[in-house]
């Protein structure tokens, strides 16, 4: 039990409530999309699988694929390259040079390819800046749309990142103040009054979900605001003070691979041999390969590894690109272990929950879902307690619109993705149109119906039906069927199809009459209970 004066408890309660009221709906949008984005790689694999399961995205022959592609690329883009597996374990390769845009911000320009690792066939080739190449990505478009909503709400940088950073800070405030104001923390972990007034039961559900979720909410809020502010504010600010604004110099110093300039042309070493060597050195698998100065004597190949068994960080190995000689192993940042480097390495696994594969991702998904539930029930409790005032009744309708309209809009974007991917080269505008179209319809319903229970029923029912139909739509638009997917070992396709059908049926099941639900309780009844 945390002892506070009455005055401080009141202040913290006010901070807890008002921070949620001011930013709760946007926070819910970021939490919900983040919860789904935990499975971004699986969503990409599900929406754009290759015809068979690719167990090893860096098979023998990777060297030939990258080398052949490099030969087809203008040498001005050989300054840097990286390759890693993307949707369906396609090998994504990007040769590029660094430049600054009109506003002086660093960006990359070059040529990217998606390669089938089984045959070496180039499935897609795109040229331009990193943003142009991302915008015309078909295979990863659906997962990137969801990730973009989570990262910056699709608002141009740095404003989107600053906004999500502020939302992260609001979540941090809610988590800390929630921890302090719940005086009987241990008891509240297990208190759920099943027989009692509606408001009390709703409060219990909110508190029990929030209390169990507190450590996780704190971790997500902290790491999330770090990710947003780090790139939008932290790197430019520290670069301004220490390196006179040179962000590339800051990143170069942090990464710790000092450039030893030698532009003498030199053939590249065998990448297959380097990949075999990293596998022999570690029990982890490679995840990302970066190559500086392709085809030069000073070329460096850096191989980032996945998490080791039972560890939250993976090693990084550096090789000479010209000779293939092993140079050194290093942490993600710096050349030797350090406090800053270790903390940095912990941020990604703690935020993405990907350190133990699908198991940890499922736990992160469940905890994220609980966080979304807490943010919405908190707002509903706030508005129900003040339901005699029109402004709070309006906020209750707005909450219903966002709470149930956002999932519907996300599913609508997926419904647009599958038919459109065969026709349009740039899918993001099409998904945006479907997303905002569904959101607009939901807003009209919320405005016209006024009764939160009816708004919820219609939106939740529509979401349920759309989710149940999504696997069918995927299949009708040329996607692989279940029998073929089973034979090809594409378990992700079947698993996500079943998850969407299960989620849709759960939405429809939630529509059953429940007289005690907070959202269905008339304000007059709640007032009577309060009295």
């Amino acid at each position: 039990m945390i002892r506070l004066s009455q005055e401080r408890t009141k202040t913290l309660l006010a901070i807890h409530g008002w921070s949620a009221v001011a930013l709760g709906l946007l926070l819910y949008a970021v939490i919900l999309t983040g919860t789904i984005a935990v499975f971004a790689k699986e969503i990409a694999d599900w929406s754009s699988p290759l015809s068979t399961h690719i167990a090893d995205p860096f098979p023998p022959g990777t060297d030939r694929m990258v080398r052949d592609f490099a030969a087809s690329v203008d040498p001005q883009f050989h300054e840097e390259a990286f390759f890693f597996p993307r949707a369906g374990n396609r090998l994504y390769v990007f040769f590029h040079r660094h430049e600054t845009d009109e506003d002086g911000k660093p960006r990359e320009r070059g040529v990217a390819a998606e390669i089938d690792p089984r045959s070496g066939e180039i499935l897609d080739r795109r040229e331009g800046t990193d943003a142009d190449i991302e915008a015309t990505d078909v295979a990863n478009a659906l997962s990137e749309f969801i990730v973009g909503l989570h990262v910056n709400l699709h608002i141009p940088d740095p404003w989107g990142l600053l906004l999500t950073g502020v939302l992260g800070l609001a979540m941090l405030v809610a988590a800390v103040s929630g921890f302090v104001v719940h005086r009987h923390l241990i008891r509240e972990l297990f208190t759920l009054r099943r027989r009692g007034e509606t408001l009390l039961k709703a409060r219990d559900s909110h508190v029990i979900a929030g209390t169990w979720n507190l450590p996780f909410a704190f971790i997500l809020a902290f790491t999330g605001s770090y990710f947003s502010f780090g790139s939008a504010l932290g790197i430019p600010a520290v670069a301004m003070v220490v390196f006179g604004g040179d962000q590339d110099k800051l990143i170069e110093t942090l990464v710790g691979n000092p450039p030893q300039v030698d532009a003498t042309p030199a053939p590249m070493a065998d990448l297959d041999a380097i990949l075999a060597d990293v596998r022999a050195r570690s029990d982890a698998e490679p995840t990302f390969v970066s190559i500086q100065h392709w085809g030069r004597a000073d070329s460096l190949v850096t191989v980032f590894m996945n998490y080791r068994e039972g560890a939250l960080t993976g090693p990084t190995y550096v090789y000479s690109g010209a000779t293939g000689e092993f140079r050194y192993a290093k942490p993600n940042l710096g050349l030797v272990p350090s406090t800053g480097g270790t903390l940095f390495a912990l941020m990604a696994p703690l935020h993405f929950g990907n350190f133990a594969g699908v198991l940890s991702k499922t736990v992160w998904f469940a905890l994220g879902f609980a966080g979304a539930y807490v943010s919405i029930t908190g707002l509903l409790l706030w508005t129900q307690r003040r339901s005699e005032q029109p402004i709070w009744r309006a906020l209750a309708r707005l909450t219903c619109w966002v709470a149930y309209g956002l999932p519907l809009s996300l599913v609508a974007a997926a419904w647009a993705y599958f038919p459109a991917r065969r026709i349009w080269p740039a899918l993001e505008p099409v998904m945006f149109a479907a997303f905002f179209g569904a959101a607009a319809i939901a807003a009209i319903l919320a405005w016209r119906l006024r009764d939160p229970a009816r708004i919820r029923d219609i939106l939740l029912g529509s979401t349920g039906l759309a989710l149940v139909g999504l696997p069918l739509l995927r299949w009708m638009c040329g996607g692989i069927g279940w029998i073929d997917a089973f034979n090809a070992g594409l378990a992700t396709v079947i698993a996500l199809d079943l998850a969407f059908i299960g989620g849709g049926l759960f939405c429809l099941w939630s529509l059953r009459p429940r007289p005690a639900a907070l959202i269905r309780t008339p304000a007059s009844q709640i007032e009577a209970q309060k009295a």
């Binding site: 401080r8 202040t11 913290l12 901070i15 992260g168 800070l169 941090l172 405030v173 800390v176 809020a221 902290f222 605001s225 770090y226 502010f229 780090g230 504010l233 932290g234 790197i235 600010a237 520290v238 301004m240 003070v241 220490v242 006179g244 800051l250 110093t253 942090l254 710790g256 942490p331 940042l333 710096g334 050349l335 030797v336 272990p337 350090s338 406090t339 800053g340 480097g341 903390l343 940095f344 941020m347």
Partner: protein
């Protein structure tokens, strides 16, 4: 027509002063602390701690200053403390930039 009592007016001013301190002032000071502490934090064995830690710990810096601004019993002291930290780091940054200018 009723006019607000002096106590009400003082309380409202105090509330606004706290809101300004906990909102834009704390955010600006947290940014100054993040940028300025890169100049005085030890670099550590990898020579990067002074660059990485301020960026990593920005949410913690902000949260500490925010709760200090919200919960301080004496608002004037909170203003002096937070503004002092901000000015100190602003001075450090200014001195560094002036000395490193060509």
């Amino acid at each position: 027509m009723t006019s607000a009592s002096p106590a009400d007016t003082s309380s409202r001013h105090s509330l606004w002063s706290r809101v300004v301190l906990a909102g834009p002032v704390v955010f600006a000071v947290a940014c100054l602390v993040m940028a300025g502490s890169a100049l005085w934090l030890p670099a550590g064995p990898a020579q990067i701690d002074n660059l990485v830690l301020p960026i990593l710990l920005f949410p913690a810096i902000w949260a500490a200053l925010f709760f200090c601004a919200c919960l301080a019993r004496r608002l004037t002291r909170a203003w002096i403390f937070i503004a002092g930290i901000g000015l100190l780091h602003a001075a450090l940054i200014a001195q560094h930039l002036l000395h490193s200018a060509p």
